[in-house]
């Protein structure tokens, strides 16, 4: 090993593990230089030891701790904000759930009566052809009907367990569309294919807003009128 190779491959620590250790025994100049380097390193260690007491004043730590606490408060506030935002998907889910619940309530109304007409039974905007019996009720003033129009001889089917209409009670007739499955209690045939199809029906509401009777609106040939 040459002198240049020795100094170029000098390890960081001691020479014990270095392949150049033998070179110092052969080269007096490098050995002397090596000794001086070691003395300098020892001197630098003493300088380092003398500097150990030099530290940042306490106000630096105080300032940093204050900054840390301020940041921690900010993070907590932001985390709280994010936790609310994480529930931002709830409104559409709740809306969908409400719609589903309304459909269920409609079915309950039809099966058990004496329930308010749900929102899903919204009036149909465009009138359709009506069966003769329906025309009778449609002849009633405005959207009001007499009790006779949904009597035993009419097409109206009393909602089970619904209260009877009082003689002078004002009733209202609304036309709604509902799924076949919701009308199953009225005897509509429902299959897996047409369960979600909608049909048109007239609902008689008492003065308390409760459904009293339902009539399925049919075409001239007797088939159910389906919403298009």
């Amino acid at each position: 090993m040459t002198c240049v190779e020795f100094w170029n491959h000098l390890p960081e620590g001691g020479l014990e593990a270095s392949p150049g250790a033998g070179h110092l025994a052969e080269c007096a100049a490098c050995a002397a230089r090596w000794d001086r380097q070691q003395a300098l390193k020892a001197g630098l260690r003493l300088v380092s030891a003398g500097m150990r007491g030099e530290e940042a004043p306490p106000r630096v730590e105080a300032g940093l701790v204050a900054a840390f606490r301020s940041q921690a408060r900010f993070k907590r506030r932001r985390a709280a904000s994010y936790s609310w935002r994480s529930f931002s998907w709830w409104p559409p889910v709740l809306t969908g759930a409400s719609a589903a619940a309304a459909t269920v309530v409609l079915a309950m109304v039809l099966m058990h009566g004496s329930h308010p007409v749900p929102a899903s039974m919204a009036p149909v905007s465009t009138p359709h052809r009506m069966a003769p019996a329906a025309l009778e009720s449609a002849d009633a003033p405005a959207d009001r009907v007499d009790e006779d129009s949904y009597g035993p001889d009419s097409d109206f089917i009393p909602v089970p367990n619904a209260a009877r209409i009082e003689p002078n009670e004002d009733v209202h007739l609304v036309r709604v569309e509902a799924t076949r499955s919701a009308m199953m209690a009225l005897g509509i045939v429902v299959s897996a294919e047409n369960a979600s199809d909608t049909v048109v029906a007239d609902v008689v509401l008492g003065s308390d807003g409760m459904a009293r009777a339902v009539r399925l609106v049919t075409n001239g040939d007797g088939s159910l009128l389906e919403e298009e």
């Binding site: 960081e12 260690r45 004043p57 630096v60 940041q71």
Partner: protein
């Protein structure tokens, strides 16, 4: 109680403390600060020559650590090296603003660097108080690129690999700068002992301390 807590923290590694710091653990932050602030502050003082600047730099270094996007990557080096790296950048920025660096930093100076000359062994003095102080002054008078490598590797005991990360240069460059820095220190110590020998690359310099 606090002392017991701090003693407990002192057994944790830097990475463990950093992980807890990220979760908002103030005790971990304080422990990490107390462990590392001295070295960062000393490096900043001896590089900038100003205790006021060193305070600001130390504060900035640890504030950077608080930031979520601080960019420390354990794969690339130690936390200590990372902190020194930030401190160095801040020091350089400070020096650029203040132009307070020594005026002995050109490649020509490197080329004219003397070999280690034994005149009247100044190293004998290093065991005495005056000798230690002379060596300290010699370190502070080194050109910036050599001073920083001596501060990091000899005085703060970083290994060459960490120093290479801090200085953003190859490890071979760290090694060669160390060699030249030591040669300059020998020369300076010789010069102090015998002013008539003050020749060669040493020029008048301006040092702000």
């Amino acid at each position: 109680m606090i002392k017991r807590e701090m003693a407990h923290e002192s057994t944790k590694t830097d990475d463990e403390l950093l992980a807890r710091l990220r979760r908002g653990d103030e005790a971990a932050f304080v422990a990490l600060y107390r462990r590392r602030q001295g070295a960062i502050y000393r490096f900043a003082v001896h590089m900038s020559g100003s205790t006021t600047a060193a305070e600001d730099i130390t504060q900035e270094v640890f504030l950077a650590l608080l930031r979520q996007e601080c960019g420390f990557d354990p794969e690339r080096g130690t936390l200590s090296g990372y902190l020194f790296g930030i401190a160095r950048k801040l020091v350089l920025r400070n020096l650029e603003r203040g132009r307070a660096d020594v005026a002995l930093e050109t490649e020509a100076d490197d080329a004219a660097m003397p070999e280690l000359a034994v005149i009247d062994d100044p190293l004998m003095d290093l065991t005495r108080r005056e000798g230690i102080e002379a060596l300290r002054r010699a370190v502070m008078a080194l050109p910036r690129r050599y001073r920083e490598v001596v501060l990091l590797c000899d005085l703060e005991e970083l290994d060459y690999a960490d120093a290479a990360v801090v200085l953003q240069c190859p490890i071979g460059t760290v090694r060669s700068r160390m060699h030249r820095a030591r040669a300059l220190l020998f020369e300076k110590l010789n010069q102090d002992r015998n002013p008539r020998l003050a020749v060669g690359p040493w020029k008048p310099m301006r040092v702000a301390i």
